[in-house]
Subunit: 357 residues, 2 copies
């Protein structure tokens, strides 16, 4: 079966989903053994984890493992799927931090718990309750990510090889989030700092570390680990830049994110840093006034989109995406690895940077 | 050296502190390798973890290990100290959830980051920034807890024995927090439900699971694990009840918590459930009106303290503390274990239930 087929990605995705369902089928009812009131915590985590997501991190972890010439197994499927639980923690906490209303076209987790509070007629502020529940649900997902990896079926030696990567990956994603929050608070303005956030929040966390984790589980050579860095960092940057573009120009029906949310939030992305960098005085004034205005309406969104494009920022970002994706692919070509893995990783590089969601 | 001596507890405490300092001496500067802006995240975690705390969970973990007849070692000191990093996550997230201003007599972590935001002259709401940073700092502490245990020096087999306990413990503390939040939202009222929160938030998390973790690392027999449950659950309940009493009647200079904070927050503890349970109509009316009033002044605090005592709730709680502590000690006496460990655990039962902070 050729790995170029979309089918192959689909097959893996459904295997990751199955592994997650099986893990949660044990973990969620165990909460019921503690108290009935915990049911919404378990069910919401389950719904969040199983409902969509591109399963990109598990794909990279899986192919990082296969690149070591290790064969396909349910162990690597389970270990790779654990990354989705870590991602659930990152997203749920991120939505609390950003005060986001929706995620993947559904109400954000803290909004769902605020609704539970309202419908239960409880005391206090529903929004505060929702945030409290979402903080704890994110913690639970972070803990479960660890359990899922530990119980994936790999032996103690493989898990010990994986531990430093697993630790680094988890620390880096939280640090990336913090740098992002600081960057928003500073009001952005530096292309260099925006790229650094992209590097830690996405390049390392989404691509490089999942590949390293797979390689460590498969006892890959140091040369392979280095190649994954040379592939993962530019590709991850390109991936995040695609995200930036979709956040402003994406189709809400496809992305699941309301149009203009990134603009209303005033998100300090590389795209926005480029726009400021190339704007004339009138454009810069418009950007300063409108970016981060929570009341920005559809017309305001259109005006901002046009200005950002007019500065040339979109072209610069698209150029950077293409260059970085090429650099990533070249790093693979120069490295000795399993052929099926190489083909799959070239395909992933293409789909991660040309996607529309 | 007799374990009855306070000295012994002090020695252990300073060994735990040393292990934490050594772990953080590597972990905190590693953040600087990512970005200078991460320094406050690392330094605040370090200050929080090293500044005080009773180190109760590490003590129980240590003696759970020694009870298996395993000898003293730096490995068990490092593994036990990891519990303080988990506790840091629980406390920092708890303070965000409760909107607490202080912890251990210092500004709460989210307040410290709000102050950083203000002094940096950044954009946006300092309080929101503070909460975001505290959520991420808590996540980081939760991840570091795991790293600290993994790198404690125990071999893969010991860590594999410990994994199910470590997983259960982490899940239980988050579930206990959630049940607590739900209980506050419901406005409390049930002695049974308040006791259940105490069981998960404190009895299992503070005492039973740390003992189990130590026993698992030391390859203890199932009989020992069962004895630790019979000791840990009643003692943990007594420990939490002491906390409830200190939260209302404690000396702020000793507890580090402002007088009356639990009353202003309207915390639904077992003490309060007893008070409602035994109150006459006039007393119940006063409790309903004043409990949870954020504006409650010193006079209001005194009135509430007097009413709670007048209902007989304090006597009932003190009676329960004594009964539960006795039950805990009897469970130890009936079990075959290392004598030094038994003596230390009897001492810990006494100090955990008669403490003034």
């Amino acid at each position: 079966m050729a790995t170029q087929d979309n089918y192959r990605v689909d097959v893996l995705t459904s295997r990751f989903d199955k592994a997650l369902r099986e893990f949660l089928r044990e973990a969620v009812p165990a909460l019921g053994g503690i108290a009935d009131e915990l049911a919404p915590l378990g069910q919401t985590t389950e719904a969040f984890v199983l409902d969509g997501g591109k399963r990109l991190r598990p794909q990279f972890c899986y192919w990082g493992y296969r690149a070591t010439a290790a064969g396909d197994s349910e162990d690597i499927i389970r270990a790779a799927a654990a990354l989705e639980l870590l991602q659930a923690c990152a997203l749920v906490h991120d939505d609390v931090i950003d005060g986001s209303d929706t995620r993947r076209g559904q109400p954000a987790v803290h909004r769902r718990f605020a609704a539970l509070h309202r419908s239960s007629g409880w005391y206090g502020d529903p929004e505060r309750f929702g945030e409290a529940a979402a903080i704890l649900l994110g913690d639970l997902a972070l803990i479960w990510a660890d359990s899922a990896l530990t119980r994936s079926g790999f032996d103690a030696a493989a898990l010990q090889r994986a531990a430093p990567v697993w630790d680094a990956m988890r620390v880096e994603v939280m640090c990336g989030q913090y740098l992002d929050v600081v960057e928003q608070a500073r009001g952005g303005g530096s292309v260099e700092r925006a790229l650094r956030v992209a590097r830690f929040k996405s390049a390392k966390y989404t691509i490089e570390r999942p590949l390293h984790l797979g390689a460590a589980l498969g006892a890959g050579e140091p040369e392979l680990t280095r190649a994954f860095t040379s592939y993962g960092l530019p590709l991850g940057e390109a991936f995040q830049l695609r995200d930036d573009v979709l956040g402003v120009y994406g189709d809400p029906d496809v992305t699941g994110k309301p149009a203009g949310d990134d603009l209303r939030e005033g998100k300090r992305t590389v795209l926005i840093a480029f726009a400021f960098d190339s704007a004339n005085e009138a454009q810069a004034e418009q950007l300063r006034t409108r970016l981060g205005d929570p009341q920005l309406d559809a017309d305001g969104v259109t005006v901002l989109r046009d200005i950002i494009a007019a500065t040339g920022a979109v072209d610069r970002v698209e150029g950077l995406i293409a260059t970085q994706a090429d650099e990533a692919v070249r790093a693979l070509e120069a490295t000795d690895m399993d052929d099926a893995a190489r083909t799959a990783l070239v395909d992933l590089a293409r789909s991660a940077t040309t996607r529309s969601r």
